[in-house]
């Protein structure tokens, strides 16, 4: 149902969307029932001449049952929500599938900047690609991100991925995502960070593996000496291995 | 306009309510008290009840501050090096001073219960003297620390040290001021029930110090 409002472009977007639908059905049911009961009672018991009110304390057993039974059902519904909620949360925020790639995301007043491994597939080497405002990623690839803030609290949100994580100064916070749809998606900062808060827009560009590899080649620094015992830096990179599969 | 200025005598009803026995005119302060002040559905006199609530909210304030400090201290073992610079003797002396002044406050309460206002006033003023000595020692400590270069912005431990002892010191000072006002009334045998209340507050200030002293001065 959420997909009607925003594109779903990552693997875990669907799990969040399904959880949303489950909650919608359960709470929607209670909302409609409670509102309906209330309006029916207002209508049924509007003041009418000559009809006295009933002296009801609410402690009468047959009547209190009307409270106790819904009360129990609400508890069951809560449990039915809590369990999938924890599972979804666990899969997104606690258990991180093994990374195909790691990227660094820097938040600062007022821009997003990124550091991606270059064609050698290793971060913090000379051929890393550093960009501002644009994060290029390959489709069907599991990314870990390391999120840092250089000044105040920001928040890295990619609605299409259903991704959100606050960035704190003094800490590196990790998360993951796996894009499964090509396209360009917004990055919004979603924690008040000063007057440029609305202006630190970014974009995630999800490309095919070939396009992404080509982009990396174009944008990385010239590679330093080739890795020993490797036929070529490119052929040995995990990314190319993956692309060939 | 009509207003009831005197406490109503006990009324009969389905419950017995504790209402203070009809006061001698001299015990009433210049501004008339509402009947609301003199009733006691719980059995606890109103003045004491409000004192406990004040103390309860203060506990939460100091509790919050102390918890924040404790969590940080546990995460920063190197703060022990800074804590070494606090003057443990001064802190111990101050603990003794506060405890003694609390004793004076207890004796003041006893005197008030015996309706001996002037004696209660004297003992309250002795308590204030204890507070004054406490603050003087604190001033000496702070001066020494500042001279050695340890100020509020010197870093983790010192920031907490000054905020904790500073907030505590403010409460000591406020207590002293209120205590002097109550002593002035007590000397005229007025509002003697307040002697116990300010005594309770003073014990609370004392207890906060008893937490601060080990945490700031002794703990490694």
């Amino acid at each position: 149902m959420l997909e009607r409002y925003t594109t779903a472009a990552s693997t875990y977007a669907h799990s969040i969307d399904h959880l949303f639908l489950l909650i919608l059905v359960l709470v929607g049911f209670w909302l409609i029932v409670a509102e309906a009961v209330m309006f029916i009672l207002i209508f049924k018991f509007r003041a009418r001449d000559g009809r006295p009110t009933r002296h009801v304390t609410g402690e009468e057993k047959e009547l209190h049952r009307w409270i106790t039974i819904p009360h129990m059902l609400v508890i069951l519904c809560d449990i039915a929500i809590i369990i999938p909620a924890i599972i979804v949360w666990y899969n997104i925020k606690q258990a991180q599938p093994p990374a195909d790639q790691t990227v660094r995301v820097y938040a600062q007043q007022w821009a997003w900047s990124f550091q991606e491994p270059g064609p050698d597939g290793v971060l913090d080497t000379a051929d890393d690609v550093r960009t501002v405002g644009e994060l290029h990623v390959a489709i069907n690839t599991t990314y870990h991100f390391e999120l840092m803030s250089r000044d105040v609290v920001h928040s890295f949100a990619v609605p299409a991925f259903r991704l959100k994580q606050d960035a704190l100064p003094g800490r590196t916070i990790t998360g993951w995502f796996r894009p499964n749809r090509l396209g360009t998606y917004d990055i919004q900062c979603t924690q008040m960070c000063g007057i440029g808060h609305a202006l630190m827009a970014g974009r995630v560009i999800v490309e095919t593996r070939q396009d992404h590899a080509a982009w990396l080649m174009q944008n990385s620094n010239p590679p330093v000496a080739a890795l020993p015992a490797a036929p070529s830096p490119l052929a040995a990179s995990p990314m190319m291995a993956e692309a060939r599969r | 306009m009509n207003m009831d200025c005197r406490a109503a005598p006990t009324t009969t009803g389905p419950r017995t309510f504790l209402i203070r026995p009809a006061e001698k005119p001299t015990t009433m302060s210049a501004t008339a008290k509402p009947i609301a002040n003199t009733r006691s559905a719980t059995g606890i006199p109103t003045a004491r009840l409000i004192t406990w609530w004040v103390i309860a909210s203060e506990i939460v304030i100091f509790g919050g501050l102390l918890s924040a400090y404790l969590m940080h201290r546990l995460g920063h073992p190197e703060w022990a090096l800074s804590a070494d610079h606090t003057n443990t003797w001064a802190g111990a002396f101050n603990t003794f001073v506060l405890l003694t002044s609390s004793l004076a406050a207890v004796l003041a309460h006893k005197a008030a219960d015996a309706l001996d206002g002037p004696r209660a006033a004297k003992l309250l003023r002795l308590t204030v003297l204890g507070g004054f000595v406490f603050l003087m020692v604190k001033a000496f400590e702070w001066t020494t620390d500042i001279r050695e270069g340890f100020v509020l912005s010197s870093g983790g431990f010192w920031s907490y040290y000054y905020v904790l002892t500073g907030l505590h010191g403010l409460h000591v000072l406020a207590g002293m001021v209120i205590m002097l006002i109550i002593a002035a009334d007590a000397a005229k045998n007025q509002e003697l029930q307040r002697v116990e209340c300010i005594g309770l507050y003073w014990h609370f200030v004392d207890i906060v110090w008893i937490f601060l002293f080990p945490l700031l001065y002794i703990a490694r």
Binding site: E59, W89 | S57, S159
Partner: protein
């Protein structure tokens, strides 16, 4: 029997500005709160105009720059919670009703009461001054997260930030003073015969609210002192480069912040309950169950706070604990709602204006309550946190609390307070003109939130996915709803001030209610009761079979 003592008639200053009479102090809080509501409403107008008609000149304000936008949304939230909801619901209604409904002549400590208003007024002045200083009002959001809020270099509103903090601290002091007075008065000063379960539920709710406030405010006061020092004295409590931690503030803030919503909810629910009983002519359904559920809500409210911080960088394992507690708290809240609805059963319902507001509260608050589930569930909160879905959720709770229940209370107790009746027709027009547009404002915002609109953003022009025309239509629709709703408040203002002078004179008990405040003249004299009452039964004896009247006041022996 009590003796009546004649006092010299006080002058205007002593009577209206320096009074210790709880009713005057209540009016002071009410009018200050209403004035601040006008300011808070104006601020909402400003930012919604920017969002509905981006980058146009806003009539009565000017161009909404990003910096001014941040200040406007920060101050809107701050004012509405601390200077409208709390003073009107707790201080105004609490001050007015407590002595009257428990049958005594004033609060236990009238001079502390007066002091609490004076500190509160000072806090309001300090806050409003912050609009005028260099840099303008604070722009770091009402949540004031450091390091943004701790450093003028980051927030660009250093003076505003400090004044904001001082104002909030003063407001806390005022409410601690007031709350302690309320609690002691209700505990001790009740009329003879009024046992614990004979206390009207609105009084219980107000007292519980003040107790929750007192228990939760402490850590934030500590945190505010630390933030003040970070702002002004170069300390580093929240600065990671100096060994501090920004998350510390968040925990201290939300440890208070979550119970705070129940601090404002409880009095609102109390007001609604009183009105339901009177206008359905029914005993409250399960008064004791209501109390027990309220106690449960109060206690649970202290262990849910980190649901505001799911994605804040806390240990992800902690989130699981808080999602469980948060969803659990929905149970006693749902119970309360069910009990309220059940009170209608078997009643004889008259839909006068106060009752319309009370029922409107229930209808709208239920939407707020159920949408909270999406946010309390950690999995969905990842997507919904800090979006317009959240904003719509909390407005569906806050508007019933701070606006709907307040109008319910004002229209209900106006006759008692001012000795005149408000106009019923104008009241009904005002009701429908508020409630319908309210939904027009916020239902579109649920949708824009689901579509990815994050909050505190002055313009979505930078975001391709958020610049779709359909979304802008929704934002504009929401703004139009606000404009309509604000216009209808003129009806209320007219009705209120006109009725003060020209309304039909009110008798002592125009609504035929059982509680003690309706046994004294409208308005009550200084000292309230010529003869202090004794109480013989609970507060909701309506519809007893075999009696001539369908209500049995608390103070009538038989």
């Amino acid at each position: 029997m009590s003796t009546a003592v004649q006092h010299a008639e006080p002058g205007f200053f002593r009577k209206y500005c320096w009074s210790t009479d709880h009713k005057i102090i209540a009016m002071q809080y009410l009018f200050t709160g209403m004035a601040m509501a006008l300011i808070g409403g104006y601020l909402a107008y400003v930012f919604r105009m920017q969002l509905g008609f981006p980058n146009h000149n806003v009539p009565g304000f000017g161009i909404v720059t990003p910096g001014r936008y941040n200040a406007v949304v920060t101050m809107h939230g701050t004012i509405m919670i601390f200077w409208v909801a709390m003073p009107v619901l707790i201080a105004a209604f609490g001050n007015y009703l407590i002595p009257l409904m428990i049958g005594c002549d004033d609060m236990a400590f009238p001079r502390i009461n007066r002091l609490s208003y004076q500190v509160f007024l000072l806090s309001a002045i300090v806050l409003l001054l912050s609009f005028l200083v260099k840099g303008g009002a604070f722009g770091g959001a009402w949540t004031a997260y450091p390091p943004l809020s701790a450093s003028g270099a980051y927030n660009l509103t250093p003076l505003g930030a400090t004044l904001w903090l001082v104002a909030v601290a003063l407001e806390f002091v005022a409410f601690l003073l007031g709350g302690i007075n309320f609690t002691v008065t209700v505990m001790n000063s009740r009329a003879p015969g009024m046992k614990m379960f004979d206390i009207p539920i609105v009084i219980w709710m107000i007292v519980l609210a003040t107790v929750i406030f007192m228990a939760s405010a402490g850590p934030l006061i500590a945190g505010a002192v630390m933030l003040l020092f970070d702002q002004t004295m170069a300390t580093g409590f929240y600065d990671p480069t100096r060994g501090g931690d920004p998350l510390l503030w968040q925990h201290l803030f939300w440890f208070f912040g979550h119970p705070e919503v129940y601090v404002v909810l409880l009095p609102a629910m109390g007001i609604v309950a009183e009105i339901l009983a009177v206008f359905a002519r029914k005993k409250l359904f399960g008064y004791k169950s209501m109390l027990f559920s309220t106690w449960a809500v109060g206690i649970l409210s202290f262990v849910v706070w980190a649901h505001h911080q799911f994605v804040a960088g806390i240990d992800p394992r902690m989130a699981n604990v808080f999602t469980v507690t948060t969803l659990l708290i929905s149970i006693p809240v749902a119970e309360l709602v069910f009990l309220y609805i059940a009170t209608l059963y078997g009643g004889s319902i008259r839909l006068d204006t106060p009752m319309l507001w009370a029922l409107g509260f229930l209808a709208e608050f239920m939407i707020g309550g159920v949408t909270g589930i999406f946010l309390g569930s950690s999995g969905t909160d990842i997507y919904l946190h800090d979006t317009y879905f959240l904003i719509a959720h909390f407005h569906y709770t806050f508007v019933p609390i701070a606006i709907i229940s307040v109008f319910a209370g004002i229209t209900f107790w106006f006759p008692k307070m001012f000795g005149r009746m408000m106009n019923e027709t104008l009241g009904k027009i005002h009701f429908w003109g508020t409630v319908i547009p309210f939904n027009v404002i916020f239902i579109p915002l649920f949708m824009t939130g689901l579509a990815g609109d994050q909050r505190r953003i002055y313009s979505y022009a930078q975001f391709a996915e958020q610049s779709r025309p359909a979304l802008q239509h929704l934002r504009t629709l929401s703004t139009v709803g606000l404009l309509v709703m604000l216009s209808f408040q003129l009806v209320f203002l007219f009705n209120f001030f006109w009725s003060l002078r020209k309304g039909k004179r009110a008798e002592a008990n125009p609504w035929r209610s059982t509680t003690l405040e309706w046994t004294v003249p409208s308005p009550p004299p200084h000292g309230n009761f010529a003869v202090l009452p004794t109480v013989y039964r609970g507060p909701y004896e309506y519809g007893l079979p075999g009696r001539a009247d369908d209500y049995w006041p608390q103070n009538v022996p038989d």
